[in-house]
Symmetry: C2
Subunit: 334 residues, 2 copies
């Protein structure tokens, strides 16, 4: 990591192009930047021409617009992406005129994604899709069996921000068990998991999984990880929730497992490709809760607050020449 | 309270008529009862003739069948109802041949009802009904605004078992605030609420309520408590969830508030009457999540386990002449 630019003495501009900043957020960025010798310039998404102009002399860009990034000259030292997923920028070096440009992402979506996971897990366990179908037909039928979250064992494929925030919430529901899976098999601090295993042991964990929650980043290792063979390792009636990346899952195999009843249900907030093509089988797969990639919605206030706080934290690190807390390893992809 | 029967020396029989007992549950009841001098007899709901016969010489009945209770002679000393709601037995003294028969209820449904509340609160806050309508039309539209539970203030009308278990789960979601309302205004132990007020102050609390959760028992005081005037005190876009009793709410006023957009949405698991008549407006009220009185579903394992544990606990109390822990005040109705 090189922060060579931080020793420059010329005007140090920050181009901020975001659609959701409040006056308070702008003031927070300004009062962080000015004492450090930086000047922030704010643009809405409708002001991209002005933002492009500003980027020509900016050291830092905070936003999420790929075309703006491409327009930045080699003097750009740091791109703070306001999104969590930055794999396109890792795969394609032509985004950066400066090959050493630092890249950070913004994992401020964990809480709202964890809330989405809790919602869909409860809906699946409590047979909400089936009850809703009966209600649509004006049938007051209250004998469908369902499971309580408290009686259930969860497997979290991915123990990062989302996995940990989800585990914390599942604990409060007094669930029967939580198994975590990640690359290293090392347990994150906090004791939230009953057991943490390396992903290499996934095949052993799936047969004892009642609800599988996938929150994996998109990397070559995670693409297609839940293939037809592994879906078939889940016990009959198990549930699968994916809030990571759509390509981690064999969608055709999922549809087949839902149709046959091998799986009790599923909830997908991410699919491949997005938007989902009009003739895709997922639209009408039985017992599937489909949402259009909204789990990490940016609108909730705390998500935006955390996003700005992360940028300000790393601006302090950048100015002081310290490692950036949210730095992305461009070779690893997250 | 009179436990006069507990000093009898004749055969002391317990008639248990429940459809969901496992062999383990029966063994638990047997091993509690026999050392105390009682003999339990188990019947399925399909064996009501035999159960009625057994009741003729039973001191205790554990079940939920009104017709069986009516058939019991004056020698019945204690009816342990396996349901939580026992208001019919309080209103109508003809159920009991013995006017001093003890009545207990079984509040083992709190956890599953709290899970239902969490599910519906998340669905309402996250605009699930609207997203689902778009998905049904194969529209991949991800710009509907929604709120995070974490950013939200909750009012719990009722701070009993359900209210407390819900508050505990809301705490883990790091919600902005929880106000409780009950008869006395005294806070239950545990510090789960930011504030607890008497129900007499409901009118002051409603205007600052983002999600109202109603878990009141059915009493003359709670009937119609959320009338049209009080529904109108909620801020625009607020949500209302009822898991208590249907008659606590003016349903016509609710439908009007949903249609006008005054309320952002509602979730009713209890309605008046049940089942809901075929031509009722609630079936198609906008942004209404309707479920057919399933929140306290008996099927989840822990619900049944807790039900049996409560009976066994009170059997010990009964045999020892101690007050019953789950005794219902037949004049108050809960």
């Amino acid at each position: 990591m090189t922060n060579s630019a931080s020793s420059q003495t010329a005007a140090r501009d920050i181009c901020v192009c975001l659609e959701w900043l409040t006056p308070q957020h702008k003031e927070q960025i300004r009062s962080t930047a000015l004492p450090l010798g930086f000047t922030p310039h704010f643009f809405d998404l409708t002001e991209q021409d002005a933002a492009r102009e500003c980027l020509q002399h900016s050291e830092i860009y905070y936003g999420h617009t790929p075309a703006l990034l491409r327009s930045a000259p080699a003097t750009l030292q740091w791109y703070c992406c306001s999104f969590a997923g930055v794999e396109p920028y890792c795969k394609d070096p032509t985004f950066f005129a400066n090959p050493n440009c630092l890249l950070t992402n913004s994992n401020s979506y964990g809480v709202t994604i964890a809330e989405h996971v809790m919602m869909t897990a409860l809906m699946l366990l409590r047979q909400y899709p089936q009850y809703q179908q009966l209600i649509t037909q004006r049938e007051w039928a209250n004998r469908l069996p369902f499971r309580a979250m408290r009686d259930t064992t969860f497997t979290l494929l991915g123990t990062g921000d989302i996995g940990q925030l989800t585990a914390q919430r599942l604990r409060a529901m007094e669930v029967r068990g939580i198994v975590g899976l990640n690359r290293s098999g090392r347990a994150p601090a906090g004791g939230l998991f009953d057991e943490v295993l390396p992903i290499s042991q996934l095949d052993e964990v799936l047969p004892r999984t009642e609800v599988l929650i996938m929150s994996l980043p998109s990397t070559p290792q995670t693409a297609g990880i839940m293939d037809a063979r592994r879906i078939a390792l889940l016990p009959k009636g198990a549930f699968l929730i994916n809030v990571g990346r759509g390509n981690a899952l064999d969608q055709d195999a999922l549809v087949a497992a839902l149709r046959s009843g091998a799986l009790g249900g599923a909830a997908l907030d991410v699919v491949e490709p997005e938007p989902l093509p009009q003739d895709h089988d997922l639209w009408e797969a039985p017992n599937l809760i489909l949402t259009p990639h909204v789990a990490g919605n940016m609108i909730p206030g705390h998500t935006r607050d955390a996003n700005v706080a992360m940028f300000c934290e790393d601006l302090g690190n950048y100015a002081a020449g310290r490692p950036l807390a949210h730095l992305v390893d461009r070779s690893r992809g997250y």
